[in-house]
Amino acid sequence: MAFKLNRDNVCARKAWSSHVLLDNVSKSFDKVKAVSGLTLVVEKGEFFSLLGPSGCGKTTTLRLIGGLDRPDEGAITIGNEVVVGEGVWVPPEKRGVGIVFQDYALFPHLTVFKNIAFGLKGCSPKELKQKVMELLEMVGLPHMAHKYPHELSGGERQRITLARSLAPSPKVMLLDEPFSSLDADLRDELRHETKWILKEKGTTTILVTHEQEEALSLSDRVGVLNNGKLEQVGTPDEIYHKPRSRFVADFVGKADFVHGWIEGSLVICDLGMFPLNGDIPDEVRDVELMIRTDDVDFTVEPGGNTVVIEAQFLGAQILYKLLLPDGKAIHSIKPSTKIIPVGSRVKIKVDTKHIVVFRK
């Protein structure tokens, strides 16, 4: 009984952030596999992103963790408790997860105050008021308590939704593309604000997004999903510079792929010879090299064998398209402090540190 009381009294609850474990989880909808054999550990207090194109199963994964859908196979553990698995099913209201939906899903008939107070069970009126006001302060909207959701702007709604889901101190916070319906300016601001609020509270967070920039800039670690399977899990740096599959290389960051072949410990391609780093089985000879646009540099040289054929102005940087002697094109990104006109003859230099080789 004591245990139960403790569990239901949200006000007495300290942060009880936990790790999340998915063990071989699968889920199909009408015979279409949305998630297949997903195994993943998200550490306590970690900010983890699930990144992938639409339809890759990332939202389904989130819904499975939150208990909004049941997996066909596999088990999910939050903290020390198995929430779904062999014969176990903990309904969403007992899981201690917080969710922020893309459309916010604020209760339209309740004021901001009552929205936030909704999840605060077992608090005295005084505690309730104090707690709600604390949360409102935290998201920077202390004067909004008595407004209704329809009176708020998009950014304010997002902040209130965050406050509402944080109110019961969830073990895990699940964010389902929460920034996608905001303006670009506001989005950036809110992304970082949200991250710092969650970091400060030490709440384990899983963010679902299809925007690589968002995943890379916010997360401690990123999992890239494709067709319901995890392609790679790693730090943003690893995902960007050491993609483990062609898909990850393609989806994250801008890169060109060049045909090459292996000679001993060297990779040879039209751009030159590079030392081979990483293991490639002996029998493989034909390969593809991934070259990031920021690893390609060039200098203007009248006798150069490469021509600038396009320059796309991006603000601080310019993305150049360069025509190689063999008729293929490659991209290079450079600061926009100096503009190189289209038609210039140039010479290419490639930074070999980050070149990644895939078998063809």
Partner: protein, 564 residues
């Protein structure tokens, strides 16, 4: 009767084998929507099966007596009402949308008021006014002598006129919505291409509004098909009237149900007519978004012509008849002794009781249905919901017969069994009480309740439910704190619409009421049939006033806000 027993046995068998063989399947099936659809569709099924197993003698007899006249009258009435409501409704809607003239804002909603008057009420007022003994003809005879010619009001033309005046608002409202939703750019494009305003109307505005207009026409024609009282007043018996005559005159349930089957075919004809005219764009909506066609200020005599045309329609369809009712009602109240007034109190009580019962059940069932559809999110459940809301298209007389057949079988079976087991008679439990009536009302007006409930349920996105659950809400808290507050207003609107519809309803009430159980509507019909106008006026007035409630709600929902 045989076929009913067979159907019921088959249903029982099916249910049993379901439970035995695939009980676990039931979890996956949307049980409540399917069950509701089955209960609602039962009357239609009964009647249709009666038509599929025709009895020769019945049809020979019908053909020799009433049938040819009823058929030809129905075939005249439906197109007549269709054309009339189309011309009046669409014309007025275009006037409102495309032009500016004095008094427009007020006339805009005054033109919806005739909807509050049931056809049989306007019918008897017109009959009283324009009949041979009525004031109009009397005055004309005084002025021009005894042999003055006057068109016979008790005719098909009279019936059509009355129905058009009451039913045009369906077309008017929907056509207006259809015109409002159009993009002004398209309309102006056509003008730039060299067409006049009138030509643009026929080439662009009308075709684009066609789905809405046809939806309105379909509703108006279904109302015309269900009416039996007006056509009887005007000596123009149609199929609905025929069904009731057969039941009241001959107590022949078999003949009544076979003739009802024929009515179902007319319903299908109307639906087919709507489908074929609507074409592929089948959806329409009330309530406006972007206001399209830029209105033009009418000048000179035209502006006053527009104002007076609209005023005339309001006057003849609503204002004058209601004033006449007031006049009669005053006479009635002043000359009726106080104790006789209690008759009216009794009528009002009966009407209120039935309306509250039906509104409560219809709304509750609509809620269960909408919830079931929402939870299963499947094709099966949606189809079940479609079937369960079919009743609005089925004439009241058909529903009444379709309910009488199984319920009287049930009543007699129960009585026979009790008689043979214990030797007691308990009387007719279902057909002799308000149970059958309530059942029939729920079937007929389920769509009204369902649409209101469903549209407010849409406000609760699945994410709202899920957000509440992840915040730790128990199912009860979810229902009380989130779902009910959000759906409550919609349920209330749905319930009040059903309430008023039941108050006005006549064919079902006349056929299924327990013996001697009079309601306001029944009283109006009986008094008017005896040409006791003053006696009919007070209950009629109460019905009209109650009927104004949904009309006002409708005006709010269907009037797009005009930009200033």
């Amino acid at each position: 009767m045989d076929s009913t027993a067979r159907i019921m046995r088959a249903v029982a068998n099916l249910t049993r084998s379901w439970y035995l063989r695939c009980g676990h399947w039931l979890q996956g099936l949307p049980v409540s929507p399917l069950l509701i659809a089955a209960v609602v569709m039962l009357p239609v099924g009964v009647v249709s099966s009666a038509l599929l197993t025709p009895t020769r003698q019945i049809w020979i007899h019908l053909w020799d007596t009433l049938l040819p006249e009823m058929l030809s009258n129905t075939f005249v009435l439906l197109p007549g009402v269709g054309v009339g409501t189309f011309l009046l409704g669409t014309g007025l809607a275009w006037l409102m949308v495309a032009y500016r003239f004095p008094g427009q804002t007020v006339l805009n909603w005054l033109l919806v008021l005739p909807m509050a008057v049931p056809t049989y009420v306007l019918g008897f007022v017109y009959m009283a006014t324009f009949d041979f003994a009525g004031p109009v003809q009397s005055i004309l005879r005084q002025w021009f002598g005894q042999n003055i010619w006057f068109p016979e009001i008790r005719s098909g033309g009279g019936a059509i006129l009355v129905m058009v005046l009451v039913l045009y608002p369906y077309v008017y409202l929907l056509a207006k919505a259809g015109f409002y939703e159009q993009s002004g750019a398209t309309f102006e494009e056509v003008r730039v291409l060299g067409y006049s305003r009138a030509e643009s109307f026929f080439r662009i505005a009308l075709p684009l509004a066609r789905p809405s207009i046809v939806a309105g026409l379909t509703l108006a024609m279904m109302e015309a098909l269900t009416d039996f009282a007006t056509v009887r007043f005007f000596n123009f018996p149609t199929l609905s009237d025929g069904v009731i005559r057969i039941w009241h005159g001959m107590m022949d349930l078999r003949a009544a149900s076979e003739l009802s089957g024929l009515l179902v075919i007319f319903v299908l004809l109307i639906i087919l007519f709507g489908r074929s005219l609507r074409g592929r764009s089948r959806y329409y909506q009330l309530g406006g978004k972007v206001l399209g066609i830029p209105p033009v200020n009418l000048r000179g005599w035209k502006r006053w012509f527009a104002t007076s045309t609209c005023s005339l329609v309001v006057a003849v369809a609503f204002a004058l008849p209601v004033m006449q009712l007031f006049h009669w009602a005053l006479i009635e109240i002043t000359r009726t002794p106080a104790e006789a007034i209690s008759v009216y109190l009794g009528l009002t009580f009966n009407s209120l009781l039935l309306s509250v019962l039906a509104a409560g059940f219809a709304t509750a069932i609509a809620m269960i249905l909408a919830n079931g559809v929402r939870l299963s999110e499947g094709r099966v459940a949606r189809t079940a919901a479609h079937l369960a809301t079919m009743g609005y298209a089925i004439p009241g007389a058909v529903i009444a017969v379709g309910i009488l057949v199984p319920l009287s079988t049930l009543d007699h079976t129960i009585n026979d069994l009790l008689q043979s087991w214990w030797g007691i008679t308990i009387g007719l439990i279902f057909t002799g009480s308000v149970v059958g009536l309530t059942y029939a009302y729920v079937v007929r007006f389920m769509a009204v309740a369902y649409n209101s409930v469903e549209s407010s349920l849409e406000k609760i996105t699945p994410n709202i439910t899920m957000a509440a659950r992840t915040l730790g809400a128990s199912p009860w808290k979810l229902l009380w704190r989130i779902h009910l507050p959000l759906v409550g207003p919609g349920m209330f609107v749905g319930a009040s619409l059903v309430f008023v519809d039941v108050m006005k309803e006549l064919p079902i009430t006349v056929m299924l009421r327990p013996f001697g159980y009079d309601t306001l509507a029944v009283w109006v019909w009986q008094m008017a049939a005896e040409s006791i106008w003053a006696g009919a006026s007070l209950p009629a007035l109460i019905i009209v006033i109650a009927g104004l409630l949904p009309v006002i709600l409708l005006i709010g929902a269907a009037t797009p806000k005009r930009s200033k």
